[in-house]
């Protein structure tokens, strides 16, 4: 805590040398696992009904990064996904659009063409996603390719091997280099919390990414289990809240992977509301990396409006 205080006064100093960065990260207050999980569990008991539910469902839809990241992706699949992003519910034009479509770099151009003029962003994973096991030069080129193809947002992965072996400066430098390569694109930094394992690591990696220039910190690639969990997201929300207090800057948070139901999404929004605060209830600062979640949100939305559940066949597969 003391470190946090002194860090606040001299956040620029913190990154001036490897040794200082290391001391700062190791000096961050610890996270008690039992307590963090208990807090997340309590927040999960909030009961969101009627008008609050309506608000939450529509907000959650607008926060989705509709994602396909498979080896079998084709331009056709991406075009279909873009159509869904533009008009999620064919039966109800009042259903809002999603925030972005997230694809591999080689499909960015396809998505970009489909989404022209819609206000929906194209996000691209980059930096040898999902493992990040490649040279910095290749990661930079990967990023530049994505941006050159029109990506508005870049979702990079950190080098977990470097992080876990304590080479924080290397992780920092890499994020900073990608930040530069990404240019004006929004940079989301994937921590892959399922591989960092401890909440202490999640907090340190969150700060490391923010200090290095992340616009967003993101939990997971979706390729490692566990992907996003509520306690991990809680710890990351505490980090962006504290970073905002120290610097006045708003950094976004994106849980990704494993969030499949509207009920789960609402738990995340409650946690955002009561941890980082209402400022973060905005697609600019909170996103869900998801695909199947969208249909459940739409189904709940229809249920709320009409009083009955339509069958799953009334919603499109992608």
């Amino acid at each position: 805590m003391t470190t946090l205080d002194s860090g606040v006064d001299s956040l620029a100093d913190v990154t001036s040398s490897e040794d200082r960065l290391r001391r700062f990260l190791l000096g961050l207050p610890g996270v008690d696992q039992v307590g963090a999980e208990a807090r997340a569990a309590t927040l999960s008991t909030r009961s969101i009904k009627t008008t609050a539910k309506q608000y939450a469902l529509d907000l959650a839809i607008q926060m989705i990064d509709l994602t396909t990241l498979e080896g079998q992706d084709t331009p056709g699949k991406v075009r279909a996904l873009c159509a869904k992003a533009k008009r999620p519910d064919p039966a109800d034009p009042t259903a809002p659009q999603v925030a972005a479509v997230c694809v591999y770099p080689d499909l960015v151009a396809t998505a970009k063409r489909e989404l022209q003029g819609t206000g929906i962003n194209v996000a691209s994973v980059a930096t040898a996603f999902p493992s990040g096991r490649s040279s910095l030069a290749i990661k930079i080129q990967d990023t530049k390719d994505a941006v050159a193809s029109g990506a508005d947002e870049v979702d990079m992965v950190i080098d977990r091997g470097a992080f876990l072996s304590g080479r924080y400066a290397m992780v920092f430098d890499e994020i900073a280099a990608i930040r530069e390569a990404a240019g004006d694109a929004h940079l989301k930094v994937i921590l892959e919390t399922g591989e960092l394992v401890t909440y202490d690591n999640v907090r340190r990696a969150s700060w490391l990414a923010m200090l290095a220039g992340a616009d967003f910190i993101k939990t997971s690639t979706g390729k490692v289990s566990p992907a996003a969990t509520l306690p991990v997201t809680l710890v990351m929300l505490e980090a962006v809240r504290d970073y905002h207090e120290a610097t006045g800057l708003h950094i976004g948070v994106k849980p990704a992977g494993g969030i499949r139901t509207a009920k789960d999404a609402i738990k995340y929004l409650v946690t955002v509301n009561e941890t980082a605060g209402p400022d973060w209830l905005d697609p600019e600062l909170f996103r869900f990396g998801a695909s199947s979640l969208l249909n459940d949100l739409l189904m709940q939305r229809t249920k709320l409006a009409t009083g009955h559940y339509p069958g799953p066949d009334y919603f499109t597969l992608d």
Partner: protein, 478 residues
């Protein structure tokens, strides 16, 4: 972007069926009181009258004790532990089956939020019965001699803060050990005890094994002083506990007392800060602070005082005070007008003595008994709000510089029920736990209860232990 306003999410009252009036539960049946006047129990959140309840006078208490004696001599005492266990398991299952109803009833009568009665109180009640059911046929392994025997008739008096949980803490070990009981619930919260009487009927518990006599201090006194009661168990204020200890002195009666507290919740500079804030909030605002082991004295290391206070205030701003039956309520109603008056009085004393009072902005309902979550800073050991039990959502904040000073201040109280330590340093937790004169010491958590864990006080917080193997000991002669 508009705000995320949580719409009202009330738990339905339809699940409970409150009768307009209740008799006493004696010898397996509800009977009219013979020598007391009926009294009303109200919902503290609205002041609405919930039901009329009978006051048991000395003659009624005598009947209940006779019924308990007879059941002890003829049925429950001679019964094998294995068979007693069957009844206790059955009661535990019935409590689980009726959990929702009991939670709503508890919140209505007591004022506590449904989130707590649903997620904490009632699950723990069932857990206590399950736990002690398991002991009933294993008493010779409880570590209190190879042939432990029940005392006989237990007279039990419980408080209003956890009406049904305190009932479980008292009745489950008593019955498992082979005693029969006469229990008096608090006068402001009798309804779940009366529902429990119905559960005893449903479970076919032999008549007289459990008797419930409702009433106030006079009824409690008649019970505790009844000559045929063998064992007295009381949870409540230190003043009443002292009177009970005097009244049973020189008699054959065994006694356990669980009394007041003024627990220190100690925060070191290396504490896991976010969870510590949750622990402080849970320590003092859980159950409106109507908790004998509440962390009502916050001791913060001076080096992190500003940061802890700022974060605590920010967190207090998100607490939701209001309708106990709303599933999103964090803090419910104060249990009674009398308790509210006491909290107001002591808070006024805090201001008068120069401490600084702060509460987040919060709108309190117009009817009922309400007090906002409150924190006092600039409190010193000499202030009354640092010494007396307020038993409300009021936190007194003090500071310390070294671990030794923290221990000194924490122990500088006539009470000794509980304490909390917040630090990432394991060796310090162990050292502190050894130094603190408190029955329960929580490390990096607070207000955690489990049927397997003993609970009880040092000094004026009482004597004897409840819960766990130790809790059995109180109901066995050895």
């Amino acid at each position: 972007m508009s705000r995320f306003e949580y719409a009202p999410a009330p738990e339905s009252r339809a699940i409970v069926d409150i009768k307009s009036s209740y008799g006493l539960f004696v010898n397996g049946q509800f009977v009219e009181a013979t020598d007391g006047k009926p009294f009303k129990t109200v919902s503290p959140a609205s002041e609405e009258v919930l039901a009329e309840v009978s006051e048991a006078g000395p003659a009624d208490v005598d009947k209940a004790v006779r019924a308990a004696r007879k059941a002890f001599d003829k049925v429950w005492g001679p019964m094998s532990g294995k068979d007693r266990a069957k009844y206790l398991f059955r009661i535990a299952r019935l409590i689980q089956e009726r959990a929702r109803e009991l939670a709503v009833l508890e919140s209505l009568d007591n004022g506590k939020p449904i989130r707590e009665s649903r997620d904490v109180d009632i699950p723990l009640v069932a857990a206590h019965f399950f736990y002690y059911a398991g002991w009933a046929d294993k008493l010779e392994y409880a570590g209190v001699g190879d042939d432990p025997q029940p005392w006989g008739v237990a007279g039990q008096v419980i408080p209003w803060n956890f009406p049904m949980l305190m009932l479980a803490w008292k009745i489950a070990p008593a019955l498992a050990a082979g005693n029969t009981v006469v229990l008096k619930p608090a006068e402001t919260t009798p309804l779940t005890a009366l529902a429990f009487a119905e559960i005893c009927q449903q479970a076919d518990l032999p008549p007289g094994v459990v008797n419930i006599v409702t009433g106030a201090g006079r009824t409690g006194q008649a019970l505790v002083e009844h000559p045929d009661v063998d064992k007295v168990a009381f949870t409540g204020s230190t003043a009443v506990g002292r009177a009970i200890a005097k009244s049973v002195a020189g008699t054959h009666k065994a006694v356990t007392l669980e009394l007041g507290g003024k627990a220190a919740n100690i925060v070191f500079e290396d504490a896991p800060i976010d969870q510590t804030i949750e622990g402080i909030v849970n320590g003092i605002f859980f159950n409106q602070g109507h908790v004998c082991c509440a962390g009502s004295r916050l001791l913060v290391q001076e080096s992190v005082y500003d940061e802890v206070l700022a974060r605590l205030k920010r967190r207090m701003g998100t607490l939701r005070v209001g309708d106990p039956l709303d599933k999103n309520t964090d803090i419910g109603a104060i249990n009674s007008a009398a308790q509210l008056a006491k909290i107001r009085e002591l808070s006024q004393v805090g201001e008068d003595e120069g401490a600084e009072r702060w509460s987040p902005e919060c709108e309190l309902p117009a009817n009922g008994y309400w007090f906002p979550p409150t924190v006092f800073t600039g409190v010193s050991q000499a202030h009354r709000i640092a010494r007396e039990e307020i038993f409300g959502p009021v936190l007194s904040v003090l500071t310390f510089r070294t671990p030794a000073e923290a221990v000194e201040k924490a122990n500088n109280t006539p009470f000794g029920l509980s304490a909390g330590i917040w630090t990432e340093k394991g060796s310090r937790i162990l050292w502190m736990a050894n130094q603190l004169r408190a029955g329960v010491v929580w490390a990096n958590t607070f207000n955690r209860f489990d049927p397997t864990s003993p609970f009880g006080g040092y000094k004026e917080s009482g004597y004897g232990r409840e819960g766990g193997r130790h809790g059995l000991e109180a109901y066995l002669a050895h």
